[in-house]
């Protein structure tokens, strides 16, 4: 069996980093004067307080991110693979991607609200639009870089188009898709905060802004930590999935 390696340090390294961050925050609460910053203990106890609003809003935010990532994956991965292997089509579609990819999707927030209303779907669309391009461009570039020998190899075994996509191109692109996904989680969290800051009464973004407006800094900080934890949990889940599914891709790594 393959020995799986976690990137960015082991569990003990992560625990140590978390303790350092908590310590630094505690230090900050002592140094900063004029504003009453909540202590680390206060924030942690709020996070685990049964029946508080954090879990309710946190689950809504998690659902929004997961649905957006799911839609973006389902659309971007097949399209990216197809464009990467069909240069004629990519020559037509490529310029559109080139022009639209660098545009910050957040600027479309008012337009999305006008078109889809103020519900969940507009916030999900905004996150999906941002993440979609990251996964699409990464997958397309990965598909383009497939060695010709791999194409000859599956064809010489009698594999047709479906076998090529299933047994060769998809597994070849998968490590790159996971990388894009991990990067996308950070981007998605930022867009989520922005999308939840307007015209809604649900989600962690709303909770952060609302508690800030009510000078409830303890809840505001707890919501910020909850949002960070949401990103962290998603990142870790993707990392574990990648280590399980793409263990082969790390076999040649020099440690």
């Amino acid at each position: 069996m393959l020995k799986q390696r976690r990137s960015l340090g082991g569990f003990s390294g992560k625990l140590l980093a978390a303790l350092v961050i908590v310590g630094l925050w505690q230090l900050l609460t002592l140094i900063v004067s004029g504003i009453e910053l909540p202590s680390a203990r206060e924030i942690v106890s709020l996070l685990f307080e049964p029946g508080n609003a954090l879990w309710f809003h946190g689950l809504i935010s998690a659902r929004r991110i997961l649905v957006s990532l799911g839609i973006a994956l389902v659309l971007a991965v097949p399209l990216g693979m197809y464009l990467g292997r069909n240069l004629e089509v990519d020559r037509v579609v490529g310029p559109f991607i080139y022009l639209t990819y660098p545009v910050p999707k957040l600027v479309f927030l008012p337009l999305v609200f006008v078109l889809l209303g103020l519900g969940d779907s507009s916030r999900v669309l905004l996150i999906t639009m941002t993440v979609f391009f990251q996964i699409l461009v990464t997958t397309r570039d990965a598909a383009r870089s497939l060695p010709l020998e791999a194409v000859y190899s599956i064809r010489s075994l009698g594999g047709g188009r479906l076998a090529f996509y299933r047994h060769v191109l998809f597994p070849y692109c998968l490590p790159k898709v996971f990388t894009a996904l991990r990067i996308s989680v950070g981007t998605a969290s930022s867009v989520l905060f922005f999308a939840e800051s307007f015209a809604t009464s649900t989600g962690l973004g709303y909770l952060i802004m609302d508690s800030w407006g009510q000078f409830d800094y303890a809840l505001m900080m707890a919501a910020i930590v909850a949002m960070s934890l949401l990103g962290l949990v998603l990142y870790s889940v993707i990392e574990v999935l990648e280590a399980r599914i793409c263990a082969w891709s790390r076999l040649g790594e020099v440690r």
Binding site: E149, I154, S156, G158, W248
Partner: protein
Amino acid sequence: MLEVSDVAYRYNQRQRSVLALEKVNFTAAPGESWAIIGPSGCGKSTLLYLLAGLMEPTQGKISFNGRPPADCDHEIALILQGYGLFPWKTVLANVTLGLRVRKVPLKEAKLLAEEIMVELGIEDLADAYPAQLSGGQKQRVAIARSLVLNPRLLLMDEPFSALDALTREKMQELLLKIWNQRSLVTMLVTHNIEEAVILGRKIMIFSSLPGRLVEVVDNPGMGSTGYRSTTEYLQLTTYLRRRLEESKSA
């Protein structure tokens, strides 16, 4: 029977057109073992891809047992220079892949694969990934992956070029054993003159670009015991070296 009549192939890349092969004619009978030698870039690998049905000749005709290679399905197998193994699949999954894409049930495919893996001495590597194998082991897996399809024509593109001298000799012996056991047409592209003499009953010499078939040399002693130390072997390697130099300068 493999028949190649007046075959030419031209690569068209953007504004560049290169004639890689020209006027190639030969016929290989069942059970014959052929080696192809020639200078680098003379179209040897291109010829192999044409024979495998991966590309269509620009001119001329290729047929194996009366059909174009692209219609021969499992009758033709190709072993690529870099082995062509998929790093995301285990050894067993690599070996069974050709059967799986032909809709052979998994259980049956595994049985057939295990049989051939025992024959090639790689049965213990079933769960390993290609990155965990040595060059010789990868080559055995590549051979197993081809042989499990029970082909009638086995094409090999410099299969032993990345191996050390001892492993290369072992693999050559293995290939001779396979060739003796199965009535295969084998077609081997190699840079190595000694290898061509060891493995080719007939040896094709190609000229430099565009690749033309300069000569087909008969090698009746091939496969006999102790052939490497015979005068016949030495004379033939010397002759081929001279002919190759001539074809290079031509």
